[in-house]
Amino acid sequence: MRSSAVDKGLRTGVVFGIIIVTMFLIGFTVTGAELVGKILGTPSSSPSLLFFSIFMILVGAWAGASASARPLVEVDTWKRALTTGVWAGAMSGLFSAVIGFLFGELISNKIDPRTYLPSVSPESIKMFLFNQTPLTGSLILFSMLTVSGLAAAALSFFVRNNDSVKSSKRKASESVWSVIRSQRVSNVVQNKYTRYGSLLAFAILLIILPRVWGGYWNYVLGTVGIYIILGLGINIITGWAGQLVIGYVAFFAVGAYTFALLTAPEPHHLMMNFWIALGLGVLAAGISGLLIGLPILNLRGDYLAIVTLGFAEIIRILLKSDLMTAYTAGPRGIRDIAGPTIFGKPFNSDVDFMYLIIIAVLVVTFLANRLQNSRTGKAWYAINLDETVARATGINTFASKLLALSLSAAVAGLAGVLFASRNQFTGPDDHALMVSINVLCLVIVGGIGNIPGIFLGAFVLKGLPEVLRETESYRLLIFGVLLIVMMRLRPEGFLPAKRPELEKPAVQNLPGKEG
């Protein structure tokens, strides 16, 4: 009979082996090496063997550490930790060595695997085998993963069970917390003037920064700002009222297209003023939300998700089709969309736009904050918790949900207007379903129902990928994994919403139900 330690190690090893093989097959081993190189700060963009080795060692170490994590039942001993670590490393090493050997043999026989697996380039195979022959390369890979698994297991066991490390860790965290909780800090934080001062500093920062950091950052952060607005919007219906909307991009598209058609010279030559068109775009989006919600919101929650999804697809297909080309310029999209003006003067440089987006974000945040604490916000919260109870307490659930949907649609319309106006172009492909999934992801990752969480989510999910260009093609894959993992480990997001406990815990021994 195998011991449970070996068993655990083998199981973790299989999982990590599959992960490594998958990473190899989708070409992520090269990207991972590039990322390591970028994080270590080397100027050369070409990934070297060193970075690849570091990447593989990290993966092996992760396998070893997670396999040798503190067991639930058994005693945490050196022997167990090392056994699990070494078996996990060896098993994942076996997987990668076999796959590396196979592909090495393939390319040495001049067969290109790219016909069926386009991500597996000969370069990535060579790198996977450390530029050696298939046999030596796979042996190196195997031993590297085994050793790193063993080392990580030993290290994690040491950190876990060494008293001096533990106590120093505790001391450090205690000292940090004691400073944070100390009277002096809280005095400073709660001081009125400090708060005003920091707000002022923040405002000055917001005014100065767009002028300083140049067009690229204005573009990136403008996108982040638009996504913050979208996130705040979807948060109203999904975060507060608890009704999932998948096709949120539909309202974004309605806003963008309404605005674009009203201001662009083609195809209608209306050339309306920016501010009027903005108002009409927001209004149109809000009304479309109202119309979608009318027949659906009385039904079970899932239907809203699917119907909005269908609505988004309908809108995208319609915009692309020949039927609507005369009205919406078809797949070409609408060009030369007007920028904002102030008293007849154009106000559309990238800096100006950054200001506009910042103002819009502030306004929407302010409104969202007011809404959250209003009577309506509390009604949404009640619907989210239990719709039947909410109805029983006298909330008109249908009207509340309808209001939430049209408000969030209107906010999406605002984001669409800003987006179209900034790019001076909008086409059907700007409104693919992926936009709404991104928005949903950022709200969920940041902390659904929580305004700071949405800011965080937008910066993490829209800002980081712009910075880490290498991961561009893997972004959606990582999104998918992130969603699953987040839902499992931390479904309330990184910055969970805090809600006041509206009711004290009920006393036990309640009087029995009456007839």
Binding site: I26, G242, I314, A392, L477, L483, M487, R499, E501
Partner: protein, 391 residues
Amino acid sequence: MFWGLPQHLLWQSPHLLKRRQYFMDKPTSTSAQVRLRLERYIRTFAGIVIGVFLLWRVYNVIVLQHNFGADTWVRFGLAGLILGGMYALIAIGYTLVYGIMFMINFAHGEVMMLGAFGGFFTFEALRFIHAPTLANPELNFLNAHPFVSVLLAFLVGISVSATTGYFLERIAYRPLRKAPRLILLITAIGASIFLQNLAMLLFGPQRKNVVNPDILDRGAGWILKVSGNDVLISYTGIFSLVLSTLLMIGLYNLVQRTKLGRAMRAVASDRNTASLMGVDVDSVISKTFMISGALAGAAGVMWDIHMGLVNHYTGFLPGIKAFTAAVMGGIGNIPGAMLGGMLLGVIEAIGPAALGIDFQLKDVIAFSILVLVLIVRPSGILGEKLSEEKL
């Protein structure tokens, strides 16, 4: 925010609990009754108006304008039935999972896509195996033994999809068994994005041509004479239609006659009671996912054989449309899903021509049907079959 919050506190409050119970039953107050009745009238009225308008439009196009002959309609109807068979197979998967777990398995279309890739790679692998005969030394296995090849492709596709379904449930959904439904739905969306992009990164974004065995060539078939014109009934189409019908009959018998089917129905109607009666709920749910995955995989291989093009996006639209079909037939209702799938396929094929609109818009028709069904008859054609507590 839907979770981890003092939800249980609300529940424990005695007067709220009582009022909740009161409201769970049929609305007894007259105003609520009036509102419900009014809503039903409005829905019926809207249905009648839309129906009359559609009929008028169809009458105009078919009878008055008379652009197409009878042969075209037969051709469209046949294509719709074939497509509808595939939709029905996928829709059954949605309905089974929805009935048991009360979740929309958003990744179901991706399960079908992986099955399609399984079939595609089987064909490709068999094409490279030489099976020379005396008459033809260049012959490959695919053409030498077409029936074995097709059988193998179905086996591979079905097992890939069933395995995917099993692990999907095991890794993504099982830890969330007690979580709110929104979390399950978001997880399913995550799984869908993950599988789709994994397939794109693994196999590349371009569309792949599926090479069939020669006797199942897509252009080959029987010729039917309708009003003087030839209508091609392709072998692949008939093969798909027959196979999907057989699979549906098999599934219906499995659910109605076997012990596993009884267990599935028991879990669907009341999970807790079923587990008290000795049903292993976890294994039943696993098996449900495997069965629905297998059906989707079969649909995927049919897609390979009949449609001939496969890429990572193959499963997305059929998946959503199959969900539409499941809602249309009444979610949780297996015959409903079959009927809904067939109907949706036919409507989608005939619709653009019958309504006199562009063929680009056939996807719009499917989604509009979803919206219309939800407006006019939210419980579907054959009615939902969901347990009381879930409503």
